[in-house]
């Protein structure tokens, strides 16, 4: 089954390798992976799409939770989600077929971002099914190159809990209110 996993992590070097290592160690191929900073610059969000046995994916999610640098993990496949991907496609399109291609582009509310005598570059965003449908229609014209950002996704209704902030960060942001339900604990290990 397909799983879309959203992971909030510390924005450090080496974290991506730790996360990816859990998949590769089990022989899983990651279908797509998108990483970027969140509105909190100390936190990054990874969206990982992977096909695999539910039990193994559940185990990977538990192992992800155990990584010290991972703040939150959620399998978005459980509920309704908004997912988007951006794709750039270069299609062979001389003057004879250009109109036909442009019609497809319009139908999918995509954009032409570059025009050459022999080809068109198209930008399209959307969910998986829309992008697949459009690529299928463009295929007969000969696709020269494709690049995809990888899927990014958010749960529709509820938000992933905001990560607790570090004391220093709290001082920095004057309005730092204590966030409801923050799970991080202050730990005093003085002997």
């Amino acid at each position: 089954m397909k799983h879309t996993i959203s992971v909030l992590v510390e924005n450090h070097f080496g974290v991506l390798a730790r996360v990816v290592g859990l998949f590769s160690a089990r022989g899983f191929n990651i279908d797509s992976l998108a990483v970027g900073e969140t509105h909190d610059p100390t936190v990054s969000r990874m969206t990982i799409v992977v096909h695999g046995d539910d039990r193994i994916v559940e185990q990977i999610i538990k192992q992800l939770n155990k990584l010290i640098d991972v703040i939150k993990v959620e399998d978005l496949s459980q509920g309704e989600i908004i997912d988007r991907e951006l794709v750039l496609v270069k299609v062979k399109a001389d003057t004879a077929v250009r109109n036909e291609v442009m019609q497809i582009v319009n139908t999918f509310r995509a954009k032409i971002v570059d025009v050459n005598p022999e080809s068109l570059a198209i930008e399209v965003t959307g969910g998986e099914s829309k992008i697949d449908a459009m690529l299928e229609l463009l295929a007969p014209f000969q696709i020269l190159e494709t690049v995809r950002t990888g899927l990014i996704a958010l749960a529709r209704r509820k938000a992933l809990e905001a990560p607790p902030q570090y004391p220093q960060q709290k001082k920095d942001t004057q309005k730092a209110k204590t966030r409801a339900g923050a799970s991080g604990k202050r730990v005093n290990v003085t002997k």
Binding site: G14, N65, K66, I68, I71, P167, G184, R186, V187, N188
Partner: protein, 563 residues
């Protein structure tokens, strides 16, 4: 006053209460060794870095404190990988500090450079590369905190040489805070209380319950709670190899060890139970046998601190996440005497015990390992700290020593690291100097790390090493005999084994050779009476098999035994 990174590191180790540092110097860690020269930390120079990690690991298992090793970059660091993986599999708190080339040289294939953080990522609980001396004290503090809390494990700190030379004002971080790390996720929450109540109800309703206790109970220090639970309810109890000693095997409720080389009655009890109460155990394949035939009639309670252990292998009906000790404390308040309703069950178990006791062939002149181990157990009153290598001698030790105290069986259960026994005994003896520490080793295992004889001799570490020399990789030979038509491929050691007593004498260690059965007891007595390290070389039966045995891939009650 400004301190160098190296001085800060040593200061942090002192502040963490470290007693011993096991290691071996080299180029990239020299500034740290220079700082160590002025320190009151006791340094143990090993002969090979793998030995340092096993010593730190043995020290940690014997004492419950965190073991520390300090080695150089490149090969020094890569030599620690086996030791780290061993500690990781068995959840042992170890902090390993490795030197690294200067930060500007990282990635340039510099001399003695290796991507140690990359190499050790899958075999550590966490690891760090210190890129700035400003982060150093916090990282050391976090490393010790992470190693020791939750499900413990090894943490590695990769320490570049330029960072060890950089200077800054030292400030000890009293409090640390890791927002993404919560070592006991469900501790004392209402959720776990509710789960404990449900589990207690299931226990009170069961007719054929069985306790299955693993190393997590040892780590949690829950032996008194376990004894209370068993005595209050009368539930029979079996332990894994890492759980040995957490419950006295001399107790009538003990079923001893379960699994591949467990007792008949432990395995039958698990298989026929209607409720299996797993405590700090992780359903390893050597314990469960064929998974879909494991405990087929049982509902399963699983108490563990690691949420990832729950339902990883078998489906759990009553998960309880948290530290074992408080969980059992709470549980003990909710359960009562089950003996009346278990009458038939206990009678059945007694019948199994009578019909299938642990046994070995006592006839003949050959020295059996079971005999030697049984005698070591008797002569140490089942109270010594025992370490082992991996193989037949390890399983026989588990079966025949008769463990009665927690933290007394120190063995590589998860990774199965041959060569673990001897160095770990050195760490254990340093950690518990007033107790008898015995290493029961095989001729194969011992030769993997025997260079540490120099360490034991130099520091006068009084470990008693018993080498069960059967001239083979015995467990390999046993499998080849049983499953590979006696085609003994690559398992014979006899023709090339050294004269072990001469080897020991060469290192300045008292050596005793035992060739006949009658010499066994005097040799054990002599070894125990000797102050310093002793090596006892016992020539044991060459072709002897460990029974009972559940062949891999079989159900736990499909037991092979000797004719």
């Amino acid at each position: 006053m400004k301190l160098t990174g190296a001085q800060i590191l040593i200061k942090c180790l002192e502040k963490e209460g470290v007693e011993y540092v096991f290691g071996l110097p080299g180029g990239a860690i020299l500034p740290t060794f220079d700082a160590l020269y002025d320190s009151k930390l006791k340094f143990i120079l090993v002969r090979h870095e793998q030995g340092a990690t096993h010593m730190a690991d043995g020290y940690a298992r014997a004492t419950g404190r965190t073991g520390v090793c300090l080695v150089t970059s490149g090969p020094g660091a890569t030599n620690t990988v086996t030791g780290l993986a061993t500690a990781f599999m068995d959840s042992v708190p170890v902090v390993c500090i490795t030197g690294q080339v200067a930060t500007h040289a990282i990635g340039s294939d510099a001399f003695q450079e290796a991507d140690v953080v990359g190499i050790t990522r899958p075999v550590t609980k966490h690891n760090y590369l210190v890129k700035d001396v400003k982060d150093l004290a916090r990282i050391v503090r976090e490393a010790f905190y992470i190693a020791k809390t939750g499900r413990p494990g090894p943490v590695l700190i990769d320490f570049p040489v330029d960072v060890s030379r950089a200077e800054m004002e030292f400030e000890w971080p009293e409090n640390i805070y890791i927002r993404s790390y919560d070592p006991s996720p469900a501790d004392s929450t209402d959720l776990s209380k509710a789960q404990i109540e449900k589990a207690a109800k299931a226990i009170m309703e069961s007719k054929r319950p069985c306790l299955y206790v693993g190393g997590g109970a040892v780590v949690s220090g829950a032996h008194t709670e376990i004894l209370e639970l068993v005595e209050k309810t009368g539930i029979p109890i079996t332990t894994t190899v890492l759980g040995l000693g957490v419950f006295p095997e001399t107790h009538p409720s003990s079923l001893r060890m379960l699994g591949m080389h467990g007792t008949h009655y432990a395995n039958y009890s698990v298989q026929n139970s209607d409720l299996l109460i797993a405590v700090g155990a992780r359903f390893d394949d050597r314990v469960t046998g064929k998974i879909d035939k494991f405990a087929p009639h049982a509902k399963i309670i699983h108490a563990d601190i690691d949420p990832a252990s729950i339902s990883k292998v078998v489906k759990v009906h009553y998960p309880i996440i948290g530290d074992i000790k408080p969980i059992l404390k709470a549980l003990n308040g909710l359960v009562g005497d089950l003996r009346p309703q278990m009458k038939d069950w206990l009678a059945q178990i007694e019948a199994w015990k009578k019909k299938h006791p642990l046994k070995y062939d006592q006839s003949g002149d050959q020295i059996r390992q079971e005999y030697v181990i049984e005698k070591i157990g008797e002569l140490t009153k089942h109270k010594a700290v025992v370490t082992t290598g991996v193989g037949q001698h390890q399983m026989w030790t588990a079966q025949w020593y008769g463990f009665t105290k927690p933290r007394s069986m120190i063995t590589s259960g998860g990774l199965g690291t041959m060569g673990y026994g001897f160095p770990s005994s050195i760490g254990a003896k340093l950690g518990r100097p007033d107790e008898t520490v015995i290493c029961i080793d095989g001729d194969g295992s011992f030769q993997m790390t025997l260079c540490e004889l120099a360490t034991a001799a130099y520091y006068k570490v009084g470990v008693k090493v018993f080498i069960m020399d059967n001239a083979h990789h015995g467990m390999v030979r046993q499998w080849q005999e049983l499953f590979y038509r006696r085609r003994y491929s690559g398992c014979e050691l006899g023709p090339s084994n050294p004269n072990f007593t001469k080897v020991a004498e060469g290192f300045g260690i008292l050596a005793i050779r035992v060739e006949e059965k009658g010499q066994v007891i005097p040799a054990i007595e002599k070894a125990l009476a000797h102050e310093g390290p002793v090596l006892v070389h016992v020539l044991v039966a060459k072709e002897d098999n460990v029974y009972p045995m559940v062949p891999a891939g079989h159900a736990l009650d499909q037991v092979m035994d000797m004719a």
